[in-house]
Amino acid sequence: MYEEDKKNQDQSTDRELLQLLALLSQIPEAPVPEEFDLRLRRALKQEVEREKRLRRRKRLTAVAACLAIGLLSVRMMGGIGLDTASDLSGMEAVPKTEYSDAVSADGMPSEGAASGEVQGAEETLENGMDLRCAQIEEPGLSAYSAQEKNLENKEIETDSAGKPDTGGESETISDGSSVSDTVFDSEAGGTMLTEAAAGGGFSQRGEAPSRGELSSLGRDAFDQDCEQVVQWMAEGIEENDAQKLVQAVTYKNNGVYSDSQAQQVLKLYSDLFAGGLTYKRVNLTAWSGNNIYRLSDGSRELLVLVSSTPEGLKLSEPVMEACDWLYQQMEGEEFTLLEVTRDAGEKQVEFCVQTERVEEEANTGSAGEGEMRKLIWKETESL
């Protein structure tokens, strides 16, 4: 009985399913609305246009990417000290400089790299030498403090500080590495011809890099940029060009150092130097983001510090820093700067000046000689 009921039920289900299928198959196909063709044609045209635009954009993007890669490559080559034009063409660049900056495999200057190619004086610096410029400790110049500490910790052997240029020998530093030297020979055309100038980097960009850029560019690029800065300074002094000096001192904030200040400093430099300026890097192997250069005319010299600041490279030197203070001390009196001496131990700078000769009694008509004065600028004094 139960089986028969089940059988009947199954038959009924099958019949109902067949009826269902019959009904489903009777559902007719609805025709595609006429408006659809027009819509589709329009959409296809838009799609074709879109594809054309996309293809054009891809082509442009590819070209832009190639250009970007090319520019980056050129910049990187500049960063690692390659003279792109000459290296890529296989032609040798005209040797415009005496500068030799042979770099060892680890990127550090190799010992004796500049040997025999430097016109600058053989000079080594004594332990505890007076590289520590007075302004290093100035509160407003805290950017130099790291460099100052670094210098204090270095032991540098020396023969005779201030010895005139004899050429041909590199400086010796106690850590065994040599310094790399650069010579600015104003007599040979008055133009600094360094690798930096020939190879790009800062000199091509026209502005100093920021600290962030420095870290990405690396030491070689930083060195090139520093040399460019000192080159501008030397050229500014040589050509009595205040603008060039301003350019050398500050880049990204030109308002800080005015033309009139630069003129005053240039006057002091002209007192100090007789001409024929050379510059030479007196740097330590360890890279602290600061480079020191010795600017000299053979008899007198100044140490110039180039350091990286958040605003870019900054150039500093005692005459420049104490210029305002010096003029204040002289109270408008005409004078000539004879000598600048730094006392490392006491962290002070001694300026030796000669005042102009003064008219004595009008009735005698004779003129007296000006007097020589020594002015000591201490780091605690405001500039």
């Binding site: 019949r15 009826q19 269902l20 009904l23 559902i27 196909e29 609805a30 589709l40």
Partner: protein, 198 residues
């Protein structure tokens, strides 16, 4: 359209010839439209889905490797597009019924092929009930009913469109039919008796 001409049209369309593409889709667009219409239950949505599908086909035609039949590939894209649209508009889709409240909005065109007007009306009502009952099916059950029982695709074609085996299609369709029968009986206990009478 012969196989050769279809291949030629595919080649021309792959090269970017719009006219060849239009000819290529001409043969399968009615069935594709009906699939979309049964899925989405609305003419406007069905046209949107079909247009989007054809644009996709035009865009990716160069990727069509001709391993399967062209129309099967088209139906697969239409089904996927409809599923995407349903997912996007799930809330809206849930509100929709096969026939709207107003008679003129009815998306289902029911033939008037029956001998008498009364029979025609009865059949129309029955089909409406079936389509309404289909809304209560699971999506995977509904799609096999649409493709196999309404559009008349073979098991192989359904398997190709849904990218599953023939065995899966068969078992899925059996369950779907049984479930639809139950739903129709729940809606109207005399549903099949009325069919017998008609």
């Amino acid at each position: 359209m012969s196989t050769k001409s279809e291949k030629e049209l595919i080649a021309a369309a792959k090269a970017g010839d719009e006219h060849s593409f239009e000819l290529l889709i001409l043969q399968c667009r009615t069935k594709a439209y009906n699939i979309a219409l049964r899925y989405l239950r609305n003419e406007e949505d069905a046209m949107d889905a079909l247009q989007e599908s054809f644009i996709k086909i035009f865009r990716y035609l160069k990727n069509f490797k001709e391993d399967s039949k062209f129309d099967t590939w088209v139906y697969r894209i239409v089904v996927n597009t409809c599923n995407d649209m349903l997912r996007k508009n799930s809330a809206l889709a849930a509100e929709r019924t096969v026939c709207g409240d107003e008679e003129e909005d009815c998306a289902v065109k029911i033939p008037d092929s029956a001998p008498g007007p009364q029979e025609a009306l009865l059949r129309r009502e029955q089909i409406e009930q079936i389509l309404k009952g289909m809304e209560q099916l699971k999506p995977e059950q509904r799609e096999v009913i649409i493709l196999r029982d309404i559009q008349g695709l073979s098991y192989e074609e359904v398997g190709s469109v849904l990218q599953c085996s023939i065995g899966t299609v068969k078992s899925r369709i059996n369950r779907a039919r049984g479930r639809l029968r139950e739903i129709l009986l729940e809606q109207n206990g005399d549903f099949f008796r009325l069919i017998d009478r008609s």
